[in-house]
């Protein structure tokens, strides 16, 4: 994950969190505001409905009062025989727009009933139990009808004629038909829960909890019923009878559809705004991170180029901020490092040439000296003992040829290093190759009193390698180990199969190397020995490098030395 990606993620999360928080706050506040407005609207509508309800009650009371004041009622009250008036209530109720009308004699027996004509003669004792009907408006009561019990709003008036009196009880059913005649604002509906007695209670499962609360508290309650767009706010109003018993609950429902639709619209707009804000934020974050990370990326790219060896790479930044100062410091540091490196390379090159010259002089000096002695001996023999010259010449010629061969060999080794051939890869059994290479040195190992230990991994896979070059590597390292243990010791060869390659270790128990020696060990023409060209380990490293492998050394003074060669799969 790049720095820019991380920065972009941080910016994006920050933008999304901010926009989301603002969105939530706006939505929450808007919702509360609309809830308040809706609540006020519903309260107003409920008040309007109650007013309408009360108006209807007053209408009933007025209609009954008109009947009681009519001549027909007076005549009936004065009548000695009520039988001819059996149908009177129906006529009067029809004329005054009432559904229910009972004309009741002073003893409570029905003279005529509009809604239940067959009940004539039956008693209505509830009428005679109260004396203040005149001052009351319409009251709620259970009313018996031919098809059962219903609730009705009934007003009662008393007709008095001399010592005769008669009750006029009229009203309207309080049922769904009555409710449907009420003028209701759009989005409202009214339902009526009725307790008709004897366990006859209307079933309204969804509203039952609200009804139960009203029945328990005897006060108006409200609740939200349903969910989503179908939800309604119901105001429940208790309706009590003339005797104080709760007979019905009026449920005024106001649809929350508009509110829900409005909230949905707000939510949609909010989501749109939030999405736009987030997209804009992400875009801005993308742009900002690009601006912020461009110099850093340039720094990283330049550092990469420098790491790849391009010491001329520089960061081209002209800003005066921290990044600009960092870039300039980076350029300065790179420039100085380049110069230092150049100086170091120059110094190393000089040192290498010196070492080469020293080695070359040393190597050439050894054969040259016998050549000089031999030639001088031959000259002296020619001058002082001509009779022995032939013999001296013969011996001297042999010596000269031997030393010349030696010189040729020295020059050949240098030449070999200069032109190392490319490896000819083929599947190689490393264990077998190592064993064969070690076997070449058996006489020398025995002479030097060196014990060998072989720990070959039997599961070692075939390795793609040039067997000749790897054998040369092994011989070089074994020779080094023998040289490192002049007083004898143990030479250990170990192979280990490891993920992705093979490990070959060659350890001696010699005097070991210092860290400085370890650091320069693979430098050409460097040697810790008094003889040799200093090319052995350089050739070893070159071969391993050509095999895409890696060679390292672990050593400490007095603790022996271990060369680790790792050959990868490509090898």
């Amino acid at each position: 994950v790049t720095f820019r990606t991380r920065l972009l993620l941080v910016f994006t999360v920050a933008v999304m969190a901010s926009v989301g928080l603002v969105e939530l706050l706006v939505l929450g506040n808007t919702r509360r505001a609309f809830e308040n407005v809706e609540s006020q609207r519903v309260d107003a509508l409920v008040a309007q409905f109650q007013k309408e309800f009360d108006r209807r009650r007053d209408e009933i009371a007025r209609a009954v009062s008109r009947i009681a004041a009519s001549e027909a009622a007076l005549n009936l009250a004065l009548a000695s025989d009520y039988a001819p008036y059996y149908n009177q209530a129906s006529t009067l109720a029809s004329a005054h727009g009432l559904e229910l009308l009972d004309l009741v004699a002073a003893d409570g027996s029905i003279i005529s009933s509009a809604e239940f004509p067959a009940r004539f003669g039956y008693k209505e004792d509830w009428l005679t139990e109260s004396a203040d009907w005149q001052s009351r408006g319409a009251v709620l009561r259970r009313q018996e009808l031919p098809d059962g019990i219903t609730l009705a709003m009934v007003a009662v008036r008393i007709v008095t004629a001399g010592d005769r009196r008669m009750y006029v009880a009229g009203g309207q059913r309080l049922d769904d038909d009555f409710l449907s005649t009420l003028v209701l604002p759009k989005g409202m509906r009214v339902r009526l829960w009725r307790d008709l007695g004897a366990g006859q209670q209307q079933a309204m499962p969804e509203l039952q909890p609200l009804i139960d609360r009203v029945r328990a508290s005897r006060k108006a309650e409200s609740d939200v019923v349903g969910s989503g767009a179908a939800a309604e706010t119901f105001h429940a109003l208790p309706l009590t009878g003339y005797d104080g018993s709760l007979l019905a609950v009026l449920l005024v429902g106001s649809s929350r559809r508009e509110l829900v639709d409005l909230e949905a619209l707000l939510r949609t707009i909010g989501i749109g705004v939030a999405a736009s804000g987030m997209l804009l934020g992400i875009g801005l974050a993308w742009w900002a991170t690009a601006r912020i990370t461009r110099p850093v990326r340039q720094l990283a790219d330049t550092a990469g180029k420098i790491a790849a060896g391009n010491w001329n790479a520089t960061v081209d930044l002209a800003s005066d901020d921290e990044i600009g100062r960092l870039a300039r410091a980076f350029n300065r540091m790179t420039h100085e490092l380049g110069e230092q490196r150049e100086r170091l390379v120059q110094a190393e090159r000089v040192a290498a040439w010196r070492e080469l010259a020293r080695r070359l002089a040393h190597e050439l000096k050894n054969p040259l000296f016998p050549l000089q002695i031999t030639v001088e001996n031959m000259q002296r023999a020619r001058a002082s003992a001509p009779d022995q010259f032939d013999e001296v010449f013969r011996e001297g010629s042999a010596t000269l040829l031997a030393e010349l061969a030696n010189l040729k060999q020295i020059i050949g080794r240098f030449s070999d290093f200069a032109r190392m051939p490319a490896p000819a890869m083929q599947p190689v059994r490393l264990n077998e190759l190592a064993a064969e290479s070690l076997k070449l040195f058996d006489p020398q190992l025995a002479q030097a009193g060196i014990r060998t230990a072989v720990e070959f991994d039997p599961n070692l896979p075939l390795v793609q390698a040039d067997p000749e070059q790897i054998s040369r590597v092994l011989r070089n390292l074994v020779l080094n180990a023998i040289d490192a243990m002049p007083a004898g010791g143990t030479l250990t060869l170990r192979t280990v199969a490891q993920p992705g390659g093979t490990l070959l270790e060659i350890s001696d128990t010699g005097q070991g190397l210092t860290p400085e020696e370890c650091a320069r060990l693979f430098t050409p023409y460097y040697t810790t020995k008094t003889h040799g060209t200093g090319l052995g380990l350089a050739i070893v490293q070159s071969v391993i490098s050509d095999h895409h492998g890696r060679i390292s050394v672990q050593s400490a003074p007095g603790a022996g030395t271990t060369f680790r060669i790792e050959l990868g799969e490509r090898s």
Binding site: P84, N87, P117, A118, R119, F120, G121
Partner: protein
């Protein structure tokens, strides 16, 4: 058999017209507009029974609209002579029938007892009590205690007083008092405590009955009375009812014939041929035994008569129409 003149004199006296009116010379012509309660739904005009069927001796049907209207024209060759009226136009089951005369749309209107307007000076023709209202039990009600309890529960007196406006008579027998002379011997008084006592041992399921009646108010009243006695009656269509409020008409002034007719109309077995009141009483008791039929009332036919109608009454004590002797004021001389 009365002569036409004798009949007219007798009718004028019976109709309560002033003495001069009976001597008024009848006039021919005009249309007698009649409204009846029932809607006769048969495909053809009725041939038997009271009402329109009895017009056939002097009038011929010229238009028949089942359930709505029938028009009869005077028969020039009628056996008793041509009737005075040209046309009898019968309207069936029209709304606000009880006010048809007041509205001027009818001359003769059949009324139910409850349709009599209190204190009205309306001229009324009434037959003798010839229509028997009775409760008839179906075969499902096999517990005689239930049937007797319902008989005891019905408050005939209250119904007769208010709903029937004291028209006709309360009756516990199949035949009216004016025919049999012994109808008073059949008990007709309500006795709720006794009804409850009878039902005390009856399971609740047997105490729930269905009642079918054309007169809904009457049915509701009977149901209320039954409820007082712990019987639950609920209204249903006629075909499926346990009890039905049936009407049977007395078709003859001969007691034996009348009893046979009523028994046949109510689905009772035909009474044995009898002679003498005692045997007739025994036969009627036998028919009523087990309370399969509960007689309630004997009601008259009632007609409101308009001011143009002269020459009545146009109905006989048995409720038969005798329109051939009527004429209308304003007809041609």
């Amino acid at each position: 058999v009365l002569s036409r003149r004798q009949w007219l004199l007798a009718a004028a006296a019976a109709a309560g017209l002033p003495p001069g009116a009976a001597a008024t010379r009848p006039r021919y012509g005009g249309t007698l507009r009649v409204e009846i309660r029932e809607a006769v739904e048969s495909a053809d005009p009725p041939q038997f029974g009271p009402g329109m069927a009895q017009l056939s001796s002097a009038f011929a049907v010229t238009r028949w609209e089942a359930g709505r209207r029938a028009v009869f024209a005077a028969d020039e060759n009628a056996p008793g002579g041509r009737p005075f009226l040209d046309i009898v136009d019968v309207q069936m089951a029209r709304p606000q029938r009880e006010r048809a005369i007041e509205f001027g749309r009818a001359d003769l209107v059949e009324l139910g007892p409850a349709e009599l307007r209190p204190g009205s000076s309306q001229r009324i023709w009434s037959s003798a009590p010839v229509r028997l209202l009775a409760l008839v039990f179906g075969p499902r009600v096999d517990d005689v205690r239930v049937r007797e309890a319902l008989s005891l529960a019905v408050d005939r007196a209250a119904i007769h007083k208010a709903m029937l406006q004291r028209q006709g008579e309360i009756s516990g027998g199949l035949l009216p008092q004016w025919i049999s002379g012994y109808a008073f011997l059949f008990p007709a008084a309500a006795d709720i405590p006794r009804a409850r006592a009878l039902l005390s041992g009856v399971p609740a399921s047997a105490r729930a009955l269905t009642l079918a009646a054309a007169d809904r108010t009457m049915a509701e009243r009977i149901a209320l009375n039954a409820r007082d006695a712990s019987l639950a009656l609920s209204a249903v269509p006629a075909g499926a009812a346990d009890v039905r409020l049936a009407e049977a008409r007395v078709i003859s002034s001969d007691p034996a014939l009348a009893l046979a007719g009523v028994a046949a109309a109510l689905g009772l077995p035909a009474p044995a041929p009898t002679a003498g009141p005692e045997a007739l009483l025994a036969a009627e008791r036998s028919l009523l035994e087990g309370a399969r039929v509960i007689p309630l009332f004997h009601l008259p036919d009632l007609y409101a008569v308009g001011p143009r109608v002269r020459g009545g009454p146009g109905i006989t004590p048995l409720g038969e129409w005798r329109f051939e002797n009527l004429w209308l004021e304003g007809g041609r001389p």
